[in-house]
Symmetry: C2
């Protein structure tokens, strides 16, 4: 059992807090019984489980660890103190994992999958992204296409906000140019959200297969992106604010699309 916070293996896991390190290794860190269970159930490529026997009280979780051990998944046992040094939770549960990132490509984005795909342009807030993954899971979306300079879906804050749904949604990363080129031959319909759009989001019949395109928190969609869309829809607003939170706006639109099926 590792008892030193300064052990190189522990330092390496802790380094996964940095996006640069996650990108260099293709790995990420998840913690908590719920998230690790979701990873196992989704058959995510777990490289290593991290277990603190002092902290891990749940029989369910102990059985899960045993099961993984029998499937030859490497298990790193650490002291409660070392575990706490890896954790960003107040009351760490004693179970975490290092998981290999899984990226799909645009070629994997096909018309016969789920309610729709969600494309996000330059989303910057990890909490918003995690919340959108959670809503995407709830409506049965296929996955999220991250366009341009987006926050990292493997950021721990995204994982927390996704409440274990990170593994249920496929993830694709592309530049706008790559997306735009692929889109022409994809067979998909692209519908974007814009405050200025004349179509009320409830009066529009969402075509299939569909990619719902949402702009960034600050800038929305630019003129070129709006031009690429078959249709732009707007969500009415009656108050002082000039926009909704991005995850709320995406949720309102996804539930309208779901209601039309």
């Amino acid at each position: 059992m590792l008892t030193s916070k300064h052990n190189p293996a522990i330092k390496q896991i802790r380094a996964l807090r940095q996006r640069r390190e996650r990108e260099a290794t293709g790995l990420f860190f998840i913690e908590g019984i719920r998230n690790v269970t979701e990873a196992v159930q989704a058959q995510a490529p777990i490289e290593q489980l991290i277990v603190a026997p002092d902290l891990l009280r749940s029989q369910f979780a102990q059985d899960l660890v045993e099961q993984q051990r029998q499937q030859a998944i490497p298990i790193l046992e650490v002291s409660g103190e070392v575990f706490a040094s890896l954790s960003s939770k107040d009351g760490p549960q004693g179970l975490a994992a290092v998981v290999r990132q899984q990226w799909a490509s645009l070629a994997d984005v096909r018309p016969d999958q789920g309610l729709c795909w969600i494309a996000l342009n330059a989303i910057s807030d990890p909490g918003n992204l995690g919340t959108i993954l959670r809503t995407g899971d709830a409506v049965g979306a296929a996955g999220v296409i991250l366009l341009g300079d987006c926050t990292d879906p493997y950021d721990p804050a995204t994982g927390r906000a996704s409440m274990g749904t990170l593994f249920s949604q496929r993830l694709v990363k592309a530049t706008w140019a790559e997306f735009s080129q692929w889109f022409g031959q994809s067979g998909f319909n692209l519908v974007g959200a814009a405050d200025s759009a004349s179509s009320h989001y409830r009066d529009y019949a969402y075509p299939q297969p569909l990619i719902l395109l949402m702009g960034s928190e600050r800038e929305g969609l630019d003129a070129e992106q709006q031009a690429q869309c078959q249709a732009l829809v707007s969500i009415p607003m009656r108050g002082q604010a000039d926009s909704l939170n991005l995850a709320v706006a995406t949720g309102v639109l996804l539930y309208e699309i779901l209601a039309q099926r």
Copy 2:
């Protein structure tokens, strides 16, 4: 101009980061041109403006400060460094304010105001609360009733998530017992959200006047709260997750209520 971070006036403002201090003084701190502008426009009781002339570039904001000076609002000028010690932003804009909290009472909750009222039971996340205030503003809700042990709406994180809508929504704080007693004679209809509810949220005709009751992030509504509701509605979920983010669920329901008007 104050140039010391240790000046007692500055320390007192900084102490408003603590909920205890906010509750003891009845004051709170807002920052940023947008938030201060919203406070002025909403005629919120501003006790003091805090201005860092080194940082405040915007002519619009400088005019706003001048206008407030003419209306005898106390103005505290501070150095950029002192301002940064008060700010929780990376690039502080040099404008902030200390504002008196405004609480309405249950007696102020009347049937003729806005789309509906939103009652939140034991909401714990300031970001969720701020996002719900922002959505409440967008749909034209009257305000938010905070039931039981809720996060503080005057927490800076709530203010940030509310995007300046903190002043457009009335705020009421009550225990469940107080609310429950008042409710009987209020003339309102109470509709709650629950995963287990048999009414699909789109098939239900929301009565007027309406209070939409949402449970806490972790626990939802308890049996007594559910029993108090005329109706319970559920939002369908198709995926792994067993719930939506609270602010997303509230947004989906509020936009359904708006669509029915």
